[in-house]
Symmetry: C2
Subunit: 309 residues, 2 copies
DNA sequence: CTCAGCGGGAGGTCCCCTCAC
DNA sequence: GTGAGGGGACCTCCCGCTGAG
């Protein structure tokens, strides 16, 4: 396990108490925990994304209100000057495509792209040595290579300088598609952050060998961060987003939308059986009505322990 | 209908393109649209709530990482100084209970509380006149009273000054439970915002009668904002929050949790029948397994048009 | 190396004002 | 009433630096 354990129950209770019975705050908290803790997004990136969402809400009202700056400003308690700037920013983004600060992907680009860039900039085929530090005997090189976990992909081992260069390249690439206005300059603090994230997630391993005086870095995973839990987190975010859209349609009373919540108690020994039956039943229902070329539909469901009534 | 119409499809498409295939951003956008447009929350209030969620994520990591300020800072690209301040803020909030900036309720307090406070500060029983402006003949008063919609509750009609006072009282009350540090002073801009929101939602009606030279204000709804859509929005936020919790449990592989997505196409003429059957089927399933005193369970589901595969 | 402090800059949220249409 | 412009306050997110344990 590369990631830290789940939030302890008492801490979770504390957090719950703070956002006390406010579902909107609860959604925000879950989203922050998912994207920042699991996804590895920066604190500032999450704030930017939230700001962007709010700006889009303002823009949408601006359009609906007949492009009235002042009225829009009153509705959301924003200065007309600021409304205008926001509208301009959105319109430019719509015209040029994607220049707003969004989370955009499950993980920051600089974290996902590392394994590929590593292999590209420091290629390593079976005939060349993985350790190319000067002043080591072949035996010493072998010792270092064998200290790596067996699952590590075949990649060169980098020294401090090479690794830092790689991180800077990653950062520059992640900034390329952004407009000049909100690019973030590379800095020591940012480098430390990225390096720490890579080590924390287990994508990269730091080797402090007594044979060399500088730390070495080895690629230990072919892709940023592990399968399993990580993938389920992605699926969760995906599900919630789609579920939100479905309910949005339900709110506006679109035809062909259904939403439901069933509350019940169940005997412990029957629980698994009931859930299995539910799964099979819904699958059968979807199969029964499926007809190629018909209206595209989706059914989402989740069942589990009821927390607080 | 007091609220503006739904987002036009083309605008919605535009917004969709911006947050392009990023589910996390899509959740944020839906949340912003719901709380700001529907709920009437301020732009700044949404940003504050998002910031609070991110701070809680930081705090939770801080605890998990053995209260290591520096490590936490690296993980999220936050200055140690700032991490310390955030941790302190959260701990204080946990100790004293609720002093963080959250959305907290579906609507801002100053919007919900208005009808009650109106009746309390300006009582009106059947024997007293609803219009108490000086210098009007009984006939003129009657004309103004009859210009109100029939659904308006029995409440006094206020002049500009009285209405402004009422709004200020509302604001002061909404600030009372907040700690001194982040209270927001009353201002003209804030007053305009609240007034505009009340008029926009149809809770209050402005009367520009030719009989008086100042505008009058009448309470036109016993509760902030209409039933129907508004209530469905609340239900939606509630559902999404609970759904998120369920999936959270699924991610950590808790026992007794099930999650599923069924994708299928359906013939238009069969759609309603299928949905009705689904509803009945799930209800029957929950009834079948229900047993008083058993484990508390909840099943949530939503079905509808599949937007993009 | 970690922890602590202090400096600065940029940008955003807030406030208020005036003037032309 | 709206748009467009000016001012200033405060906070927070970024950066860098130094010194004590």
């Amino acid at each position: 396990m590369t990631h830290q354990s789940q939030v302890p129950p008492d801490l979770k209770q504390d957090l719950l108490r703070v956002v006390d019975s406010s579902p909107a705050d609860w959604i925000l908290l879950n989203l922050a925990l998912s994207t920042m803790k699991m996804g590895g997004h920066r604190y500032g990136a999450f704030l930017d994304a939230a700001t962007t969402a709010a700006k889009l809400a303002i823009y949408s009202t601006f359009v609906e209100q007949g492009e009235n700056i002042r009225k829009t400003g009153f509705l959301y308690h924003v200065e007309p000057k600021r409304v205008k700037a926001i509208v301009h920013e959105i319109q430019q983004a719509l015209a040029e495509g994607q220049s707003l600060k969004v989370l955009n992907s499950k993980e920051p680009y600089y974290l996902i792209a590392l394994p590929f860039l590593w292999q590209e900039h420091f290629p390593c085929n079976s005939s060349t040595a993985r350790v190319r530090i000067q002043g080591l005997t072949p035996g010493e090189r072998k010792t270092i290579e064998e200290s790596l976990p067996a699952t590590a992909p075949l990649a060169r081992i980098l020294d401090q300088v090479e690794f830092n260069e790689l991180i800077e390249i990653l950062h520059q690439m992640s900034q390329e598609e952004l407009p000049q206005s909100h690019r973030m300059p590379f800095s020591d603090a940012l480098m430390s952050h990225i390096k720490f994230r890579l080590l924390h997630s287990g994508t990269v391993l730091q080797i402090d060998s007594p044979l060399v005086d500088i730390p070495l870095y080895a690629l230990t995973s072919a892709s940023y961060s592990p399968k399993g839990e990580q993938e389920r987190v992605f699926a969760m975010i995906d599900d919630v987003a789609r579920y939100f859209s479905l309910l949005q349609a339900w709110v506006s009373e679109d035809a062909g939308v259904m939403r439901g919540v069933e509350v019940f108690d169940i005997a412990p020994q029957q629980r698994q059986q009931a859930l299995d039956e539910l799964d099979a039943m819904l699958r059968a229902w979807a199969d029964k009505y499926h007809q190629d070329g018909g209206l595209p539909m989706v059914l989402q469901f989740a069942a589990g322990r009821r927390e607080h009534d």
